[in-house]
Amino acid sequence: MHSYRHRPSLLREPLLHFVLIGAALFALHGWVSDRKVVFCKDPGVRVAEHAR
């Protein structure tokens, strides 16, 4: 009987998981950096717009 623990699978490789998490963080960081948040003088009013 084969146990799950010893079944070779690329999907179980932590490095692959890290690549996916890292790519998501990288994309998120890029997206957040591209946005410019402008705080207006009026309290509570915030305008977010693309920097480019």
Binding site: R5, P14, L15, I21, G22, L25, F26, H29
Partner: protein, 202 residues
Amino acid sequence: MIAGLLQAPPGAIDLASNTLALGAQYILTSADHLLFLFALLLLVRRRRALAWSVIAFTVAHSMTLAAATLGVVQVPAPPVEASIALSIAFLASELVLEAQGRPGLAARWPGSVAFAFGLLHGLGFADALGEADLPPHAIPIALPCFNVGIELGQLAFLFAALCLLAGLRWLPLPRIGAWRTASAYAMGGVAMCWTLQRAVQF
């Protein structure tokens, strides 16, 4: 910051103390080097093996720091920085593999792995010292003092991290293994993000 710290070196003692402070300040503000040490600390649980791993890491980074500062080895900074981030992801993956009952290279030969990655981290330290733009005649004093500063900062961090881990043992945390795996995933994800950020600068 670095230029300001080293702006006025009228004497050898000032230069020595400034570069020592620079070394300690550099490692204590470098999240990647600290994260590598923390991953090593989590991975190597036996005290004797941990001590040998830290010694191997120290010897290796001192060798490449000296070699790169003296111009024996010349490696461009961006690939080195990306590889340093990758070394953290590697150790984090070893932590997960160990938790899954599949110990990898670093769990079996921690000293050798610490030595190999120490060579890489030393090149990063040399890059930081290079940013200080020291005159050649200052190198014989600055290099050992910078290295000692790095070791002092490293020892301070290891002491703090060991105290933290010892303190955590007293807390009634359920499923300590799950916490280790979660830490490994956090470190691995951030390290891989750094790798990508640094790789696009090539």
